[in-house]
Protein backbone atom coordinates (compact mmCIF):
# COMPACT_ATOMS: atom_id res chain seq x y z
CA UNK A 1 0.00 0.00 0.00
CA UNK A 2 1.27 3.50 -0.87
CA UNK A 3 2.40 5.42 2.20
CA UNK A 4 2.31 9.20 1.90
CA UNK A 5 5.55 11.01 2.68
CA UNK A 6 4.94 13.46 5.50
CA UNK A 7 6.15 16.96 4.62
CA UNK A 8 7.98 17.16 7.97
CA UNK A 9 10.36 20.03 7.42
CA UNK A 10 7.84 22.06 5.46
CA UNK A 11 5.30 22.18 8.24
CA UNK A 12 6.83 25.19 10.02
CA UNK A 13 7.28 27.11 6.77
CA UNK A 14 3.65 26.22 6.00
CA UNK A 15 2.59 27.61 9.38
CA UNK A 16 4.58 30.78 8.71
CA UNK A 17 2.94 31.14 5.32
CA UNK A 18 6.32 31.08 3.59
CA UNK A 19 5.83 28.32 1.06
CA UNK A 20 5.43 29.01 -2.63
CA UNK A 21 1.83 28.57 -3.83
CA UNK A 22 2.39 25.13 -5.32
CA UNK A 23 4.12 23.79 -2.17
CA UNK A 24 1.55 25.44 0.06
CA UNK A 25 -1.28 23.72 -1.77
CA UNK A 26 0.56 20.38 -1.70
CA UNK A 27 1.14 20.57 2.09
CA UNK A 28 -2.43 21.75 2.70
CA UNK A 29 -3.77 18.85 0.71
CA UNK A 30 -1.56 16.37 2.58
CA UNK A 31 -2.46 17.77 5.99
CA UNK A 32 -6.16 17.60 5.20
CA UNK A 33 -5.87 13.83 4.76
CA UNK A 34 -3.19 13.02 7.37
CA UNK A 35 -4.21 12.94 11.00
CA UNK A 36 -0.60 12.70 12.14
CA UNK A 37 0.48 15.87 10.34
CA UNK A 38 -2.65 17.67 11.44
CA UNK A 39 -1.76 16.90 15.07
CA UNK A 40 1.88 17.85 14.56
CA UNK A 41 0.92 21.11 12.94
CA UNK A 42 -1.44 22.01 15.76
CA UNK A 43 1.16 21.14 18.41
CA UNK A 44 3.88 23.13 16.65
CA UNK A 45 1.58 26.13 16.36
CA UNK A 46 0.76 25.92 20.04
CA UNK A 47 4.38 25.55 21.15
CA UNK A 48 5.48 28.49 19.00
CA UNK A 49 2.68 30.59 20.40
CA UNK A 50 3.49 29.58 23.98
CA UNK A 51 7.15 30.40 23.47
CA UNK A 52 6.40 33.74 21.84
CA UNK A 53 4.20 34.82 24.73
CA UNK A 54 6.53 33.70 27.50
CA UNK A 55 10.00 34.79 26.38
CA UNK A 56 12.13 35.02 29.55
CA UNK A 57 13.56 38.49 30.14
CA UNK A 58 17.18 39.11 31.06
CA UNK A 59 18.15 41.07 34.18
CA UNK A 60 17.59 44.79 33.71
CA UNK A 61 20.37 47.06 32.60
CA UNK A 62 21.16 50.76 33.03
CA UNK A 63 21.36 51.73 29.39
CA UNK A 64 23.25 54.94 30.00
CA UNK A 65 26.00 53.02 31.77
CA UNK A 66 25.90 50.37 29.05
CA UNK A 67 26.51 52.97 26.33
CA UNK A 68 29.22 54.71 28.36
CA UNK A 69 31.00 51.39 28.81
CA UNK A 70 30.63 50.66 25.10
CA UNK A 71 32.17 54.04 24.27
CA UNK A 72 35.06 53.30 26.58
CA UNK A 73 35.65 49.92 24.95
CA UNK A 74 35.53 51.49 21.51
CA UNK A 75 38.09 54.10 22.53
CA UNK A 76 40.22 51.38 24.11
CA UNK A 77 40.20 49.50 20.83
CA UNK A 78 41.77 52.52 19.18
CA UNK A 79 44.43 52.69 21.91
CA UNK A 80 47.05 50.46 20.28
CA UNK A 81 47.00 52.72 17.22
CA UNK A 82 47.46 55.81 19.34
CA UNK A 83 50.29 54.07 21.19
CA UNK A 84 52.12 53.53 17.94
CA UNK A 85 51.41 57.01 16.74
CA UNK A 86 52.99 58.31 19.88
CA UNK A 87 56.10 56.28 19.02
CA UNK A 88 56.04 57.68 15.50
CA UNK A 89 55.63 61.27 16.59
CA UNK A 90 59.44 61.97 16.69
CA UNK A 91 59.63 60.80 13.08
CA UNK A 92 58.98 64.22 11.47
CA UNK A 93 61.41 65.76 13.96
CA UNK A 94 64.10 63.27 12.95
CA UNK A 95 63.39 63.87 9.28
CA UNK A 96 63.57 67.64 9.58
CA UNK A 97 66.80 67.35 11.61
CA UNK A 98 68.30 65.22 8.85
CA UNK A 99 67.20 67.70 6.18
CA UNK A 100 68.59 70.59 8.23
CA UNK A 101 71.87 68.71 8.56
CA UNK A 102 72.04 68.12 4.82
CA UNK A 103 71.29 71.79 4.12
CA UNK A 104 74.08 72.80 6.46
CA UNK A 105 76.53 70.61 4.57
CA UNK A 106 75.39 72.13 1.27
CA UNK A 107 75.49 75.69 2.62
CA UNK A 108 79.01 75.31 3.97
CA UNK A 109 81.06 73.41 1.40
CA UNK A 110 84.31 71.59 2.34
CA UNK A 111 86.97 73.62 4.12
CA UNK A 112 84.87 76.40 5.54
CA UNK A 113 82.75 74.47 7.95
CA UNK A 114 82.33 70.81 8.64
CA UNK A 115 79.55 69.69 10.86
CA UNK A 116 80.63 66.08 11.43
CA UNK A 117 78.50 65.79 14.50
CA UNK A 118 75.39 66.79 12.57
CA UNK A 119 76.20 64.33 9.82
CA UNK A 120 76.67 61.54 12.33
CA UNK A 121 73.46 62.57 13.97
CA UNK A 122 71.72 62.49 10.62
CA UNK A 123 73.05 59.00 10.05
CA UNK A 124 71.90 57.91 13.46
CA UNK A 125 68.50 59.42 12.88
CA UNK A 126 68.23 57.76 9.49
CA UNK A 127 68.85 54.47 11.21
CA UNK A 128 66.21 55.33 13.77
CA UNK A 129 63.78 56.22 10.99
CA UNK A 130 64.55 52.98 9.18
CA UNK A 131 63.98 50.90 12.31
CA UNK A 132 60.75 52.75 12.96
CA UNK A 133 59.61 52.10 9.41
CA UNK A 134 60.45 48.48 9.99
CA UNK A 135 58.39 48.55 13.17
CA UNK A 136 55.64 50.26 11.28
CA UNK A 137 55.62 47.53 8.67
CA UNK A 138 55.51 44.88 11.35
CA UNK A 139 52.69 46.71 13.02
CA UNK A 140 50.65 46.97 9.86
CA UNK A 141 51.12 43.24 9.42
CA UNK A 142 49.86 42.63 12.95
CA UNK A 143 47.00 44.96 12.34
CA UNK A 144 46.12 43.01 9.22
CA UNK A 145 46.18 39.78 11.22
CA UNK A 146 43.70 41.36 13.61
CA UNK A 147 41.57 42.32 10.68
CA UNK A 148 41.63 38.76 9.44
CA UNK A 149 40.38 37.63 12.80
CA UNK A 150 37.49 40.06 12.58
CA UNK A 151 36.79 39.08 9.02
CA UNK A 152 36.56 35.47 10.05
CA UNK A 153 33.29 36.26 11.77
CA UNK A 154 31.88 38.52 9.14
CA UNK A 155 33.48 37.24 5.99
CA UNK A 156 30.28 36.41 4.19
CA UNK A 157 28.38 39.50 5.11
CA UNK A 158 28.51 40.86 1.60
CA UNK A 159 26.83 37.79 0.24
CA UNK A 160 23.62 38.43 2.12
CA UNK A 161 20.74 38.73 -0.25
CA UNK A 162 17.64 40.80 0.38
CA UNK A 163 14.76 38.75 1.55
CA UNK A 164 12.00 41.20 1.99
CA UNK A 165 11.39 44.81 1.37
CA UNK A 166 11.26 47.04 4.34
Amino acid sequence: MWAPRHPDTQLIAYLKGELADRDHRRVASHVSTCAECTRALEDFRKILQDLATSVPQPPEIQWGAYRAELRQKLEGRRQPLWGWQWLLRPLPVALSAAVAGALLILAFPSGTYRPPVTADLAFLEETAVASRLDLLQQYSMLERLDLWEDLDVIQHLDTIQPTRKS
Binding site: A13, E42, D50, Q57, L157, P162, T163
Partner: protein
Protein backbone atom coordinates in the same frame (compact mmCIF):
# COMPACT_ATOMS: atom_id res chain seq x y z
CA UNK B 1 11.69 61.87 8.96
CA UNK B 2 13.40 59.07 10.82
CA UNK B 3 16.51 57.75 9.13
CA UNK B 4 16.56 54.06 8.28
CA UNK B 5 19.02 51.68 9.94
CA UNK B 6 20.69 51.18 6.58
CA UNK B 7 21.30 54.91 6.08
CA UNK B 8 22.64 55.21 9.62
CA UNK B 9 25.01 52.31 9.04
CA UNK B 10 26.35 54.01 5.91
CA UNK B 11 26.97 57.11 7.99
CA UNK B 12 28.78 55.02 10.59
CA UNK B 13 31.04 53.88 7.75
CA UNK B 14 31.91 57.56 7.30
CA UNK B 15 32.65 57.73 11.01
CA UNK B 16 29.51 59.63 11.94
CA UNK B 17 29.54 59.11 15.72
CA UNK B 18 25.99 60.39 16.18
CA UNK B 19 24.70 57.83 13.69
CA UNK B 20 26.50 55.11 15.64
CA UNK B 21 24.96 56.29 18.92
CA UNK B 22 21.53 56.23 17.33
CA UNK B 23 21.98 52.68 16.03
CA UNK B 24 23.17 51.57 19.46
CA UNK B 25 20.11 53.09 21.08
CA UNK B 26 17.84 51.40 18.57
CA UNK B 27 19.40 47.97 18.93
CA UNK B 28 20.85 47.83 22.44
CA UNK B 29 17.86 46.11 24.05
CA UNK B 30 17.30 43.61 21.25
CA UNK B 31 21.03 42.85 21.10
CA UNK B 32 21.35 42.33 24.83
CA UNK B 33 18.18 40.25 25.05
CA UNK B 34 19.13 38.04 22.12
CA UNK B 35 22.67 37.56 23.44
CA UNK B 36 21.27 36.72 26.85
CA UNK B 37 18.81 34.23 25.41
CA UNK B 38 21.70 32.41 23.75
CA UNK B 39 24.17 32.71 26.62
CA UNK B 40 21.85 32.88 29.64
CA UNK B 41 24.46 34.97 31.43
CA UNK B 42 23.86 38.69 31.94
CA UNK B 43 27.53 39.69 32.12
CA UNK B 44 28.46 37.75 29.00
CA UNK B 45 25.39 39.07 27.20
CA UNK B 46 26.34 42.62 28.08
CA UNK B 47 29.92 42.10 26.98
CA UNK B 48 29.20 40.30 23.72
CA UNK B 49 26.39 42.62 22.66
CA UNK B 50 28.80 45.52 23.17
CA UNK B 51 31.41 43.61 21.18
CA UNK B 52 28.88 43.24 18.36
CA UNK B 53 28.43 47.03 18.30
CA UNK B 54 32.20 47.49 18.16
CA UNK B 55 32.40 45.07 15.22
CA UNK B 56 29.56 46.96 13.60
CA UNK B 57 31.52 50.19 14.00
CA UNK B 58 34.67 48.65 12.59
CA UNK B 59 33.01 46.84 9.71
CA UNK B 60 30.28 49.34 8.76
CA UNK B 61 32.04 49.92 5.43
CA UNK B 62 31.50 46.31 4.44
CA UNK B 63 27.77 46.54 5.00
CA UNK B 64 26.17 46.24 1.57
CA UNK B 65 22.84 47.84 0.90
CA UNK B 66 21.71 44.49 -0.45
CA UNK B 67 21.09 43.29 3.09
CA UNK B 68 18.75 44.53 5.76
CA UNK B 69 20.79 46.11 8.52
CA UNK B 70 19.07 44.01 11.22
CA UNK B 71 19.98 40.75 9.48
CA UNK B 72 23.57 41.87 9.05
CA UNK B 73 23.86 42.98 12.66
CA UNK B 74 22.18 39.85 14.08
CA UNK B 75 24.63 37.84 12.05
CA UNK B 76 27.56 39.50 13.76
CA UNK B 77 25.94 39.17 17.18
CA UNK B 78 24.65 35.60 16.95
CA UNK B 79 27.91 34.30 15.57
CA UNK B 80 29.86 36.03 18.31
CA UNK B 81 27.63 34.35 20.90
CA UNK B 82 27.76 30.93 19.23
CA UNK B 83 31.55 31.16 18.89
CA UNK B 84 31.80 32.16 22.52
CA UNK B 85 29.74 29.20 23.62
CA UNK B 86 31.70 26.87 21.40
CA UNK B 87 34.99 28.11 22.84
CA UNK B 88 33.79 27.83 26.39
CA UNK B 89 32.04 24.50 25.84
CA UNK B 90 29.25 25.50 28.07
CA UNK B 91 26.40 23.78 26.33
CA UNK B 92 25.19 21.55 29.06
CA UNK B 93 23.20 18.42 28.41
CA UNK B 94 21.83 18.04 24.93
CA UNK B 95 18.63 16.15 24.45
CA UNK B 96 18.94 15.87 20.71
CA UNK B 97 22.37 15.15 19.31
CA UNK B 98 22.68 17.39 16.29
CA UNK B 99 26.13 16.38 15.12
CA UNK B 100 25.57 17.06 11.48
CA UNK B 101 24.17 19.79 9.34
CA UNK B 102 23.30 17.05 6.89
CA UNK B 103 19.71 17.52 5.89
CA UNK B 104 19.29 13.86 5.00
CA UNK B 105 19.42 13.15 8.72
CA UNK B 106 15.84 14.36 8.94
CA UNK B 107 14.73 10.81 8.39
CA UNK B 108 16.38 9.81 11.66
CA UNK B 109 13.88 11.78 13.65
CA UNK B 110 11.55 9.37 15.20
CA UNK B 111 8.05 10.04 14.13
CA UNK B 112 6.20 8.61 17.01
CA UNK B 113 2.74 9.86 17.53
CA UNK B 114 3.04 12.14 20.54
CA UNK B 115 -0.36 13.39 21.46
CA UNK B 116 0.03 16.86 22.87
CA UNK B 117 -1.90 16.51 26.07
CA UNK B 118 -2.20 20.05 27.25
CA UNK B 119 0.10 20.01 30.29
CA UNK B 120 -1.33 23.27 31.51
CA UNK B 121 -4.03 21.27 33.22
CA UNK B 122 -1.50 19.36 35.26
CA UNK B 123 1.25 21.87 35.88
CA UNK B 124 -0.19 25.33 35.65
CA UNK B 125 0.71 27.77 32.93
CA UNK B 126 3.74 29.36 34.55
CA UNK B 127 5.31 26.06 35.48
CA UNK B 128 4.67 24.70 32.00
CA UNK B 129 6.43 27.64 30.38
CA UNK B 130 9.34 27.11 32.73
CA UNK B 131 9.64 23.49 31.67
CA UNK B 132 9.31 24.51 28.04
CA UNK B 133 12.09 27.09 28.23
CA UNK B 134 14.33 24.75 30.18
CA UNK B 135 13.90 22.33 27.31
CA UNK B 136 14.76 25.10 24.83
CA UNK B 137 17.98 25.70 26.76
CA UNK B 138 18.91 22.07 26.24
CA UNK B 139 18.60 22.15 22.45
CA UNK B 140 21.71 22.11 20.30
CA UNK B 141 23.18 25.61 19.68
CA UNK B 142 22.02 25.80 16.08
CA UNK B 143 18.50 24.56 16.77
CA UNK B 144 18.20 26.88 19.68
CA UNK B 145 19.49 29.90 17.80
CA UNK B 146 17.10 29.21 14.92
CA UNK B 147 14.20 28.84 17.34
CA UNK B 148 15.08 32.04 19.24
CA UNK B 149 15.34 34.05 16.03
CA UNK B 150 11.95 32.65 15.06
CA UNK B 151 10.20 33.18 18.37
CA UNK B 152 11.84 36.34 19.73
CA UNK B 153 12.76 38.24 16.62
CA UNK B 154 10.07 36.78 14.35
CA UNK B 155 12.49 36.56 11.45
CA UNK B 156 11.47 34.88 8.21
CA UNK B 157 13.29 31.62 7.47
CA UNK B 158 15.42 33.26 4.76
CA UNK B 159 16.77 35.79 7.25
CA UNK B 160 17.41 33.16 9.92
CA UNK B 161 19.42 31.33 7.26
CA UNK B 162 21.44 34.48 6.58
CA UNK B 163 22.11 35.04 10.25
CA UNK B 164 23.17 31.43 10.83
CA UNK B 165 25.16 31.22 7.60
CA UNK B 166 23.30 28.18 6.31
CA UNK B 167 20.61 27.29 3.79
CA UNK B 168 16.90 27.83 4.31
CA UNK B 169 16.44 24.07 4.09
CA UNK B 170 18.86 23.64 6.99
CA UNK B 171 16.95 26.19 9.05
CA UNK B 172 13.75 24.26 8.39
CA UNK B 173 15.43 21.10 9.61
CA UNK B 174 16.70 22.86 12.75
CA UNK B 175 13.27 24.27 13.52
CA UNK B 176 11.53 20.98 12.84
CA UNK B 177 13.91 19.04 15.07
CA UNK B 178 13.68 21.64 17.81
CA UNK B 179 9.90 21.65 17.81
CA UNK B 180 9.68 17.86 17.55
CA UNK B 181 11.88 17.57 20.63
CA UNK B 182 9.82 20.10 22.56
CA UNK B 183 6.63 18.42 21.45
CA UNK B 184 7.71 15.04 22.69
CA UNK B 185 8.84 16.54 25.94
CA UNK B 186 5.65 18.45 26.51
CA UNK B 187 3.48 15.54 25.41
CA UNK B 188 4.70 13.32 28.24
Amino acid sequence: MELSDEVLCQRVANRDEAAFDLLVERYQERAYRLAWSILRDAEEARDLSQEAFIRLYQAAESFGQRARFSTWFYRILVNLCLDHRRKHRRWRGVLVVDRSEDESETSLIERQPAPFQDPVEDLGKEQTMKVLWTAVDQLSPQQRAALLLQVQEELPTAEIANVLKCSEATVRVHLHRALSTLRKLMGK
